[in-house]
């Protein structure tokens, strides 16, 4: 029965798969068949005698979780916390002991009832890891390849495994926010390019280059390898410039009946810090700041909110100034005080949105209004099993992460099916995952161009005197004068509660292999990535704010894309006495297409979710826009590895890629690499060395490429838009079509090239007790694909992308580890230095992509790292009127008594340095004032085991990176009359506080707030990312908790050590794109109000049966 079943499936797999039609339907059929097969398989066996024993490591410590199988049967057992096991087996049976990271052991029972086993760890250099297109022994790898400690990375509750990569893999930095489902910006060994620095992810052989890998269930991941240098990555040629991350989800079943594993985790998250920790929360305290601000400016202090400035009081009611007693408010306001403040109202006569009446608040905690704790849960069920001829694993996942901001959450459901079948020399199978993601809420994932307008920009900095709701329970706001220009942040959260981002994605591959003989293997693999992403958004009317708006709008967009990659490789392995050869040749083709449609409607008559559709009858205007893209890559590659006597290793790879994005004639690029290794410990002179037990020295050099620019940039493009080129030339209120050139093409576009050199060593010291890996590197990018700005005389058309720029990264990564059975410790650290060498050959700088209220704080300048901070340099305060006068330029001569002359010099304002020594402080004195790149990042992973308990902790630290705390525009300088820092009043300049932290509070001081190093803060921090306490259930503990089950308590981000005074030093990357692609690396480390990281307490449970 079972065999018949399998035959049917094979037919389906070998004959039925067609890339052109019905992929999804067929895959579903395969998945269902597999499930059925699984249920129907299984055989009964007899039983004979009981066997017990203890499994220990070479050091004598008991090993928990060792799987013991009786060969040829379904019988298995798992050791408990004391390393003990118990099973029944035929008296002549063979037992197999297997445990991750150790050499498997086989024992014959031979009638014994007690069998104790010692298991030896696999030495680091003998580990086999998945690298490019093949599996390799560590000792054969000459490049810089780091493995992620998957177990450690999975001790987290984020949607993506990428978020924890930086603590575990040296040379990797990750930026992600606390928003559920947040994007992860992973960077390997610095920044290679002005744009598109995402590494290439190869998931089970299928390439994907993007930073949302949320569709991938972290629990499905078996291994993550990071190829950091060109000699390891250049076989991926065209797209490997930013490094390659290989993710394997190929957890497969082992022969035997279905084994079910259930993992469940649930917990609660809260923000690591809130603005209420640093901002004023008491209205009368806020008034003191406001009073000082008017008083110091010489302006009259407004009385409409707090009444008599000398005897201020909380208003009973706040009503807008735009509410004269004779008009809309008549009948509502029934009593006013001497300052025109309403003292009594007739709530029954009140209606919005004509006016706004709200009770004065003693102090609204706006942070608390929006942020609170949120539940997090993650459930996984795996079923795995198989026989010698097949193996399967099916997993189900449901992940639900509430945002700490209200009305915000992320959910994912996924199903994965991995199977393999073996028929003689032929093997085939598939790995497929189907994931549905749902993100709800109006909180953007990352700050972007909308940061100031987002909830976490300035809206959450609403004044404390404003209540959350008006007298009728509608959302209140700062409509009255002096209350600022902020939206009600809770209203924005609420209005966005039905905003949804959906992602439906099928990702995976089908593969077949033919092992013609043990030496020659042919493999073919078709990978695919088919997805549909939809976003729904709604913008409400906001009559309650100072800049009231009365219109609403709704929009939706959809991006459909499908990508396929077909890879064919032929491998030939040959050993001739001490000479070992491994050859691989291959060919790959990749094609991607997407189509995007976006539509919006304004003036919705009814704003309920059910009517948020784009139809004429539902609103007053609608707009629609579609676009698309397509690209292809064609490649051939080869690889030759040679190993002599396990001492000398040489590796050569070459790849040729053709890209449709580049100009004909320049489409093809060649990417060679060479690697050399010397296992010096196998030389006689180091034999039996007591310190150096095993040492491998590595050298690698190679070239990788980058071509990730929008397609179609070879030729000039023309277009336009109704608001850009259309014009009412007849003067009759109807527009006529117009065109302009929208982008300039470059008919010579070619590859961006990255040449990298890596020197490294893998060392096992003190008889393997200490494991030390170090790599130093230099990566130079040339022909950098970039669109340097043209003079405005060339027009606004997107400048052509050219290949002129150069950038360099140099650095060092290392890791040190010790793993004993009862404890382990591993530390990794990395440092890189990024430097722009050339921009377009002439220009020596260009500004960053975003200007905030006071200008652009980022510059990309030759000789400095990408995204450096830029501004004036403060030089204390003007301490007296005399000093200020001396620096004020004379109207006629333009000179001042004491140079440098400075505009707006006044006591208590910042004095700035005349950095160019021209006697005037002006924009020309801006200089580089900070660097967002860390000098050093480090991860520390610790594990401890005592009996049935285990304790693990992970620390992460970033040192020497600057943060541009742009929120100071608001919470120090009170731009738009926002709320301010708690310590502002006490620490501002006054004649009696001349060495203050902040300048004098003065609403007319538009000078001190100029972008300067006052905004720069040290962003270094050390964070206890994770601590987990686990308990392994011993046998017989409970009937419903089989032996081998584990329960644990986990805490994330419990401690942070930092000098950063803003919300959270762990900032996500800004979400920005330019005409030539993603440019978030030009704008790092600017705090414009980011979703803070989460502190999560959770409890989890893992069991198998």
């Amino acid at each position: 029965m079972g065999a018949n079943r399998r035959n049917t499936m094979e037919k389906k797999l070998s004959a039925g798969f067609s890339p052109r039609t019905g992929i999804v339907r067929q895959l579903c059929a395969v998945g269902l068949s597999l499930l059925l097969a699984m249920v129907l398989s299984g055989t009964a066996y007899g039983q004979n005698q009981a066997v017990t024993g203890t499994v220990t490591s070479t050091g004598g410590a008991p090993l928990q979780g060792v799987t013991i199988r009786v060969q040829g049967t379904d019988i298995r057992a798992v050791t408990d916390g004391a390393g003990r096991y118990r099973l029944t087996a035929p008296s002549d049976a063979v037992l197999t002991f297997s445990y991750v990271g150790t050499r498997p052991v086989q024992m014959t029972v031979a009638g014994r009832s007690s069998i104790d086993v010692t298991m030896a760890q696999i030495p680091y250099l003998e580990e086999v890891v998945v690298t490019a297109y093949t599996e390799q022994r560590r000792a054969d790898i000459t490049g810089a390849v780091s493995s992620l400690n998957v177990e450690s990375a999975q001790r987290q509750t984020g949607a993506s495994v990428l978020q924890r990569l930086d603590a575990s893999v040296p040379g990797v930095t990750v930026a992600s926010g606390g928003s559920p489902g947040s994007r992860s910006t992973v960077r390997i060994r610095g920044i290679s390019s002005f744009q598109n620095n995402d590494p290439l992810y190869i998931i089970d052989g299928t390439p994907v280059q993007e930073s949302y890998l949320n569709f991938l269930n972290p629990n499905d991941i078996t291994s993550v390898q990071v190829l950091k240098d060109a000699s390891s990555a250049s076989i991926y040629g065209a797209r490997a410039s930013n490094g390659v991350i290989l993710i394997e989800t190929t957890k497969r079943g082992v022969a035997g009946p279905p084994q079910v594993t259930l993992r469940a985790r649930t917990g609660v998250a809260s923000p690591v810090r809130g603005y209420d920790d640093i901002l004023i929360t008491n209205s009368m305290d806020y008034f003191e700041v406001m009073r000082a601000s008017y008083e110091n400016a010489g302006d009259a202090i407004p009385t409409n909110i707090y009444g008599d400035p000398n005897n201020p009081s909380l208003p009973v009611y706040i009503w807008p100034n735009a509410c004269p007693a004779t008009a809309a408010c008549s009948g509502v306001v029934t009593g006013v005080d001497a300052f025109g403040r309403a003292t009594s109202v007739n709530a029954a006569a009140y209606s919005t949105p004509g006016s706004l009446i709200m009770a004065g608040s003693e102090g609204t905690n706006w942070w608390d209004a929006v942020f609170s704790s949120a539940p997090v849960s993650d459930y996984n069920l795996d079923v795995a099993g198989g026989s010698d001829e097949n193996a399967y694993r099916v997993s189900f996942n449901f992940f639900d992460q509430g945002g700490t901001a209200r009305y915000n959450h992320f959910k994912r459901g996924s199903v994965r099916v991995n199977t393999t079948f073996n028929r003689g020399k032929l093997s085939f199978g598939e790995n497929i995952s189907l994931a549905l993601e749902r993100h709800h809420g109006g909180m953007p994932d990352d700050p972007g161009g909308f940061a100031e307008d987002g909830i976490l920009g300035k809206n959450i900095l609403q004044q404390p005197v404003i209540p959350v709701f008006d007298i009728q329970g509608n959302f209140a706001g700062g409509k009255a004068k002096t209350l600022g220009n902020q939206g009600n942040p809770l209203k924005w959260a609420w209005a966005g509660k039905d905003n949804e981002t959906r992602n439906n994605q099928v990702f995976g591959n089908v593969f077949a292999g033919l092992d013609m003989n043990p030496a020659i293997t042919f493999r073919t693999r078709l990978g695919f990535n088919v997805a549909q992403r939809t976003t729904l958004a709604f913008t409400p009317a906001s009559p309650e704010i100072a800049e009231a708006t009365f219109g609403n709008s709704a929009g939706e967009n959809r991006n459909d894309f499908n990508d396929w990659t077909w890879t064919n490789t032929l491998r030939y392995v040959k050993a001739l006495s001490k000479h070992n050869f491994d050859f691989l040749i291959g060919q790959e083709a990749n094609k991607g297409r997407n189509r995007y449609i976006e539509a919006s409607i304004g003036g919705l008559i009814n704003t309920s979710v059910d009517t948020r559709y784009i139809q004429d009858v539902l609103g007053t205007s609608k707009d629609v826009f579609t676009t698309g893209g397509q690209n292809s890559l064609l490649s051939v590659f080869g690889k030759a590895d040679y190993n002599f006597a396990d001492k000398y290793v040489a590796s050569f790879t070459v790849r040729r890629d053709g890209s449709s994005r580049l100009a004909p004639g320049n489409q093809w690029g060649t990417f060679p690499a060479v690697g050399l290794g010397w296992r010096i410990s196998n030389e006689p002179f180091l034999a039996n060395n007591r310190i150096l037990s095993d040492v491998m020295l590595r050298y690698g050099w190679g070239v990788t490429g980058n071509q990730l620019i929008p397609s179609g940039r070879i030729i000039a493009q023309f277009g336009g838009g109704k608001g850009d080129t259309f014009y009412d030339v007849a003067g009759g209120n109807s527009i006529v079509t117009g065109f302009r050139q929208t982008s300039l093409g470059n008919a010579n576009l070619k590859w961006e090239e990255n040449k990298s050199t890596n020197i490294g060593a893998d060392m096992l010291l003190f008889e393997g007790k200490l494991n030390f890996i170090v790599d130093v590197y230099r990566r130079s990018t040339s022909n950098l694909l970039f669109d340097p700005r043209l003079p405005a005389t060339a027009g606004v058309a997107s400048p052509p992308i050219i290949n002129v720029g150069q950038m360099r990264n140099t650095g060092i990564d290392f890791s040190v580890g010790h793993a004993a059975p009862s404890w382990s410790l591993s530390l990794n650290g990395s440092h890189y230095k990024n430097e722009i060498i050339s921009i377009n050959g002439v220009q020596d700088f260009f500004y960053g992509p975003i200007s905030t209220r006071f200008g652009n704080q980022v510059i990309n300048q030759v000789g400095h790292p990408i995204g450096s901070f830029y501004g004036l340099v403060t030089d204390g305060f003007f301490q007296s009127q005399a000093e200020a006068d001396a620096h004020t330029a004379d109207a006629v001569t333009g000179l001042c008594a004491t140079p440098p002359c400075q505009d707006g010099a006044a006591p208590g304002r910042f004095k700035f340095k005349d950095t160019n020594n021209d006697g005037i402080v002006n924009a020309a004195d801006r200089t580089i004032i900070g660097d967002p790149h860390p000098d050093f990042t480090a991860g520390l992973d610790m594990g401890l085991r005592r009996g049935n308990f285990d304790l693990n902790a992970t620390f992460f630290g970033s040192f020497g990176n600057d943060i541009f705390e742009n929120q100071k525009e608001f919470y120090v300088f009170r731009q738009f009359e926002t709320n301010v820092l708690k310590d502002l009043f006490d620490n501002s300049w006054t004649p009696s506080n001349p060495n203050a932290k902040y300048p004098r509070i003065d609403r007319n001081d538009s000078f001190s707030s100029q972008l300067s190093n006052f905004y720069i803060e040290d962003g270094s921090y050390v964070r206890l990312r994770n601590v987990q306490l686990g308990y392994s259930v011993p046998s017989g503990f409970s009937r419903w908790m089989p032996s081998g089950s584990r329960i644990y308590l986990q805490g994330e981000n419990l401690l942070t050590f930092t000098g950063y005074e803003g919300l959270d030093p762990s900032l996500p990357a800004a979400n920005i794109s330019g005409a030539a692609g993603d440019i978030r690396d030009q704008y790092r480390g600017v705090d414009r109000g980011a979703y803070p990281s989460n502190r999560v307490f959770s409890i989890g449970f893992v069991t198998s049966f």
Binding site: A548, S621, G712, Q717, Y727, L790
Partner: protein, 614 residues
């Protein structure tokens, strides 16, 4: 399988070759993915409709476009020519749009000011680029397919494009003086600046050739298009700016006597949302604003001006560009109906207080078409109140801009969406109107000593100003109407927006404006009268700063504006103005944006040279 085991390598290679062959078999695998999606290439436009549409694209940058930044590119130049010229304060709240604070305080070298200046620079050169693209495309179509255009149309397209090119360059010239001038075949976008003399020569050459090519009436009857008369009038403007008064008189008197232009019958028809009055005889060149035109974002509905509405009430947002106390005082008249600033030069500006209806002093009726002030009907929106409409009195004063405000009854307001639809309308923005041309000619006549004709020209403008005044314009909104009637019972049922200036209903003001009774007694008096009239007639239209600089009196006037003139000083009225830099010689021209200088670098040399003093 036997072959496989005997010759495994061969079979493997065959498998690989086969699979490779499948892909390589489709030879266009790479090229089929190369073309851009959703865009046109140059070939698509190489025909008559492509040329015409490219020309339309060249008109559009008369105001900000969606590809041109925020407000530095506004058609009216309000942030440059109005704010900081004594006509308007920045307005709004202190911290909003900080670049305008620096423009107003003459801190033009600041990074913030550079941001706006760079928007303007980029925007006018985008206009030049689009104009030149039209000319190039026309040439290539005429070469490849001569039958595509009639001679008249070919000349018309070329003439309009050349005219637009001149207009955009003139804008740059008014700002920066020494600018590079780009003709259609130039490809070096890092050209050095030309001198002002060279720029004038190029402008006049372009305007002459445009005038020759263009028809006398707009092509296709489309009123937004330039005609030969537009080019001629514009030439007169350039000549006056260049101080070529004799030539200017020839040009402008020809336009006045033989051209199609006339003054609108009354001032309320000059700035209006009523379609029946827009593009009247007075319009020489206007940005043809359109609202509810099918663009859901309302981006053609005066993008650049949308901050310039009263702040509260119906209008919601921003409250920028608030008229100054100085400007309001400037509209006062003496008993003879002549400007008080001329007859009482030491006291006309002494009123520091909010000038309200209750003051009821004699004023030029243009005041209440220009400034929203307490107790005066705001067109047909009801009574203007400081509490409702002025955003932050300490910062921006009690007044609001009014000329560009649409009448409610005109239906000119944007309704289809956009960011702040109540602040957007299809009121055309005058870039050059006949009253401006008349006063330019008057200026030239004065300088040439022809005082009689100069007096006559000024009086044409003053006479028209005296035709109507703001009427009750009783609003349709019942609450607003009730409030107005409560204040002014005489307004019951009186929905007239404009009334004769002596109409009994205008109880909030005493309106008076008279022509000068006699020919100007001297060149100096004539000059003063013409300059005064230009401010009164063209206030809040973005002209004043450029006028002051042209007259060479900007430093005197603007420093006087701040520190004392006519009995009043602004640095005590708006305290933040105490931080203003003194207006000096260098302010005669704006600094060229540093970023553009840097981008003009070739080798180690910056091709663009900064203006003197910056």
């Amino acid at each position: 399988m036997k072959i496989a085991s005997k010759h495994p390598l061969l079979v493997g290679m065959a498998c690989l070759a086969l699979s490779t062959g499948v892909i390589y078999g489709c030879s266009d695998f790479l090229s089929s993915s190369a073309p851009p999606q959703g865009a046109l290439d140059s070939g698509n436009l190489a025909n008559r409709s492509g040329v015409e549409a490219t020309l339309i694209g060249a008109y559009r940058p008369l105001d900000c476009t969606t590809s041109s930044g925020s407000w530095g590119c506004a058609a009216s130049n309000w942030a440059f020519g109005t704010v900081g010229s004594g006509d308007a304060y920045k307005g709004s709240t202190g911290a909003d749009q900080p670049p305008i604070n620096d423009l107003e305080g003459y801190h033009w070298a600041s990074g913030n000011a550079e941001d706006y200046l760079n928007q303007k620079w980029s925007h006018v050169y985008e206009g030049v680029v689009r104009s030149n693209a039209t000319l190039r495309l026309l040439k290539s179509v005429l070469t490849s397919n001569p039958g595509e255009f009639s001679t008249a149309d070919a000349n018309g397209v070329a003439g309009e494009a050349i005219f637009l090119r001149a207009h955009y360059h003139f804008e740059a010239y008014r700002f920066w003086g020494n600018i590079p001038y780009y003709l259609e075949d130039e490809t070096d976008f890092r050209k050095p600046n030309a001198t002002t003399t060279e720029v004038i020569t190029a402008l006049l050459a372009d305007l002459d050739s445009a005038a020759k090519l263009l028809p006398a009436a707009p092509r296709n009857g489309q009123k937004g298009r330039a005609t030969s008369w537009t080019a001629k009038a514009y030439k007169g403007r350039v000549q006056v700016y260049a101080g070529q008064f004799a030539a200017a008189i020839t040009t402008l008197s020809d336009v006045r006597l033989n051209g199609p232009y006339e003054l609108e019958a009354s001032f309320d028809r000059v700035w209006t949302g009523f379609a029946s009055f827009s593009n009247g005889k007075e319009t020489i060149l206007a940005y043809q604003a359109s609202a509810n035109d099918g663009d859901p974002g309302g981006n053609n509905a005066n993008q650049g001006e949308r901050l310039n509405m009263p702040n509260g009430g119906h209008f919601g947002c921003c409250g920028f560009n608030q008229p100054t106390q100085n400007l309001v005082n400037f509209y006062r008249v003496d008993a003879a109906g002549l400007p008080l600033s001329l007859s009482a030069p030491t006291t006309w500006n002494s009123n520091n207080n909010n000038f309200t209806a209750a003051d009821n002093l004699p004023v030029d009726p243009r005041l209440d078409w220009t400034v929203g002030r307490e107790g005066v009907p705001l067109k047909d929106w009801g009574l203007y109140t400081v509490s409702a409409y002025a955003r932050d009195v300490a910062n921006g004063g009690p007044y609001s801009p009014k000329r560009n405000l649409h009448e409610k009854a005109s239906g000119s307001e944007l309704v289809t969406g956009g960011w702040a639809p109540t602040q957007q309308n299809d009121v055309n923005i005058h870039l050059f109107r006949f009253a401006d041309a008349l006063l330019l000619e008057a200026e030239a006549q004065v300088e040439a000593g022809s005082l009689a004709i100069a007096t006559q020209l000024v009086n044409m403008v003053r006479t028209r100003a005296g035709v109507t005044a703001q009427g009750c314009g009783l609003p349709s909104d019942p609450a607003a109407a009730a409030a107005e009637v409560a204040a002014y019972p005489i307004c019951t049922d009186d929905t007239r927006l404009a009334v004769p200036i002596n109409d009994p209903s205008t109880v909030w003001a005493t309106y008076s404006v008279s022509p000068y009774p006699a020919t100007f007694a001297s060149v100096a008096i004539g000059r003063q009268a013409v300059r005064t009239e230009r401010r009164l007639e063209l206030a809040m239209e973005g002209q004043r700063l450029f006028d002051l600089r042209r007259w060479g009196i900007a430093a005197t006037e603007l420093n006087g504006y701040l520190t004392g003139v006519g009995g009043g000083r602004e640095d005590t009225r708006r305290l933040y103005l105490a931080n203003a830099e003194a207006f000096g010689t260098k302010h005669q021209l704006y600094p060229i944006p540093n970023i553009q200088i840097e981008l003009s670098k070739v080798g180690t040399e910056n091709r663009l040279v900064q203006n003197p003093g910056w």
